[in-house]
């Protein structure tokens, strides 16, 4: 056997192996849904960072009176606390127009705790108060944006208390009582339009985020 034919044989073998990998491993993986439900089989760390869950995030409804739920992909977090953190962080991101968030722009999540009885304590940066434009309705929608982002996505969380800058607060802008955890309230969620659609219906006017 000449040296060249040995090299050629090895090359053919490598190409064949690569083709087989693409055919039997790569392509099926490519066609797999990208978002995986939490609790799916554990995978390597880079894949973990890519994992997403589908969740409802809340923005001011068109008429301004309620919060409208939109289905979004939120990065997967291991366990309730970590997932809660990811949900609030996603909710705090400034949405693309025409969506409007009732939470003042620039508000950051400082910390998040979950008590044994299922109450989440969401510690927001000072901006939640200092950047608040006021008005009872506005403030109600701000508070319930956070309450609903957690309680409607995580059944383990029964109530939410908002803290500001590490401290308990009376209110954000003088109206909504924040001195104890607020339970989930669907009162402030916009009624589904047109028939018995799921509360987290498709969002036709929402641009698809990355």
């Amino acid at each position: 056997m000449s040296r060249a034919s040995v090299v050629g044989g090895v090359l053919v073998a490598i190409v064949a192996a690569a083709a087989a990998w693409i055919l039997f491993v790569g392509l099926p993986r490519w066609y797999e849904p990208r978002a995986q439900a939490p609790g799916a089989q554990p995978s390597a760390l880079p894949a973990e960072a890519m994992r997403k869950i589908k969740a409802s995030l809340f923005y001011v409804s068109e008429d301004g009176l309620r919060l409208a739920p939109f289905e979004r992909e939120v990065s997967f977090g291991e366990g309730t606390v970590e997932q809660a953190r990811r949900l609030v962080e996603a909710q705090l991101e400034t949405p693309a127009p025409p969506l409007t968030s009732a939470v003042p722009a620039g508000t950051r999540l400082r910390a998040l705790y979950v008590s044994n009885n299922g109450d989440a304590y969401v510690d927001l940066s000072r901006d939640a108060q200092s950047g608040h434009p006021g008005g009872a309705l506005n403030e109600i929608l701000t508070v319930y944006t956070i309450v609903l982002a957690l309680t409607s996505n995580l059944p383990a969380i029964g109530g939410v208390q908002i803290l500001v800058d590490g401290h308990e607060v009376d209110t954000l802008a003088g109206h909504v009582d924040l001195r104890r955890p607020l339970p989930k309230s669907t009162r402030w969620v916009e009624a589904a339009k047109g028939g018995p659609a799921a509360p987290t219906g498709e969002a036709p006017r929402a641009p698809q985020g990355p």
């Binding site: 068109e62 009176l65 008005g135 309705l137 009376d170 003088g174 909504v176 009582d177």
Partner: protein, 468 residues
């Protein structure tokens, strides 16, 4: 300070000293006041009240501040008790005892006597030889006559029972009188006493004074509703919503609050208190406490709204969403149902244990009724938001121990509404609607009470709301 022994026979009180516990129990028809010597706090039928001076022992007698009558006895007594320290009067029962101030002034050849009454009472003026009698239709009057120099038209003014007597002098010729209601629920009788013409046929010149317009109807204060607290939202550093053209929520709220106060006092003669009278900050708890400490029958918090959707317009009325407070309010005993708890020294005592901060949860139903009355009165007069009645866990309302609502008078985030909210026209319209709603609400309560036949309304007694 007054001696408890002196108060006991007047109010049919039983005073019992608890030697073991060192306390004093004062009871009246099954209702109890518990006093502790040297402590400025007393428990009145289970509710804590504060006294300016603690009760002290003076030999065998116990002395309490006079305030004890209004703060401790009044809540457990079936008749209305009113203390007027200035005139040293204690009014028990639903008696009409207007304050009356009599002034005299000399205007050329006539004397004008003005009788100011708060609240207004019907008056009749009759002439008797040598004097004019102004009879006021009231149970008693609490009168003061401002001193004046006697002259030969009106020589002196006296008051006795419910009559003001003007003693006439030799120059008396004729008189005319007029009655009118004043702005703040009071009334006024003006008696012009004219001197007789000196000589000739000169008739008294026809009065150039415009005749006073017919007084607006004065609705008497309803039994069961006496005090209203209005809470102008925000204040001081906290300006509330800033409108795009510079209108501040805190300015709109105080302005409307003052208009409501003036209108209520003028029309229904109720006591109206504001949680702030100027541009100052008020702590959240202090707003409801003004109402609780003054035993207000109604709490009205005024605000202006804001939305990120700038097209949103209209007024909204909020009342408490008790569900937001979890299971705790549902476990509370219904209003009026106290628990019998053992007390130090033996025996049991009825006590109502209600967390201060959840007081409103027991009035939610009535607050909803009030919200609907307000919505009804505003409809057609001001634009209402698409969902005009809302419920939320509102900080200003939760501690209020009486029917309470928060009115969002419009959206400062909408340019058109900002202009309206800053205008006195709109503010007056809102104020008027609120006053009308209060009158309706009072009537609703009266009807509910009549249907309940909860307590008979004997003369001089006021039926109590079952909730109080």
């Amino acid at each position: 300070m007054v001696a408890l022994d002196d108060l006991a026979p007047i109010f049919q009180l039983t005073v019992r000293e608890d030697a073991l516990a060192g306390g004093l129990t004062v009871s009246h028809r099954g209702k109890t006041i518990v006093l502790t010597p040297d402590q400025g706090l007393a428990s009145v039928n289970g509710r804590l009240i504060s006294l300016s001076v603690p009760p002290v022992r003076d030999g065998k007698r116990w002395l309490v501040p006079i305030q004890f009558v209004t703060r401790a006895i009044a809540p457990i007594y079936e008749s209305r008790i009113e203390l007027r320290p200035a005139s040293r009067l204690l009014i028990v029962g639903d008696l009409r005892v207007p304050r009356v101030v009599v002034r005299h002034e000399l205007l050329g050849s006539q004397a004008r006597v003005t009788i100011e009454m708060t609240p207004a009472a019907p008056a009749t003026v009759t002439q008797e030889p040598g004097r004019l009698l102004v009879k006021l239709d009231a149970d008693a009057i609490d009168a003061s006559v401002q001193p004046f120099t006697s002259q030969d038209i009106v020589q002196s003014i006296r008051t006795a029972d419910t009559t003001v007597t003007l003693d006439l002098g030799p120059r008396f010729g004729s008189f005319r009188s007029s009655t009118l209601a004043s702005e703040a629920g009071g009334g006024r009788v003006v008696v012009d006493v004219l001197a007789a013409p000196e000589a000739g046929p000169a008739q008294p010149a026809p009065s150039t004074q415009p005749r006073p317009e017919a007084p607006p109807p004065v609705v008497t204060a309803p039994p069961g509703m006496r005090t209203i607290v209005i809470d102008p939202g925000h204040g001081g550093q906290d300006a509330g919503v800033h409108g795009a053209s510079g209108t501040l929520e805190k300015d709109v709220t105080i302005s409307v609050a003052r208009r409501v106060k003036a209108a209520i006092e003028g029309r229904i003669g109720l006591r109206v208190l504001l949680t702030r009278n100027g541009d100052q900050a008020v702590a959240p708890d202090d707003r409801a406490s003004v109402a609780n400490n003054n035993k207000a029958d109604l709490f009205l918090s005024l605000h202006a709204n804001a939305s990120l959707q700038h097209q949103l317009k209209g007024a909204e009325v909020f009342y408490l969403d008790a569900d937001s407070y979890g299971e705790e309010p549902k476990k509370l005993p219904p209003a009026g149902a106290g628990e019998r708890l053992p007390v130090v020294g033996g025996g049991t005592r009825e006590i109502e244990l209600i967390p201060w901060e959840l007081a409103q949860t027991r009035y939610v139903e009535q607050s909803g009724l009030l919200a609907r009355d307000i919505e009804e009165q505003m409809r057609g007069r001001v634009l209402l938001a698409p969902l005009p009645i809302e419920q939320a866990p509102l900080r200003a309302l939760v501690g209020a121990s009486m029917p309470a609502v928060l009115v969002e008078m419009g959206f400062l985030s909408n340019p058109e509404q900002e202009q309206q909210l800053a205008s006195s026209d709109y503010q007056n319209t809102i104020a008027q609607a609120l006053v009308d709603a209060i009158v309706h609400f009072r009537d609703d309560l009266e009807r509910a009470r009549a249907g309940l036949a909860y307590q008979t309304s004997a003369a001089g007694r006021r039926p109590r709301l079952p909730e109080r």
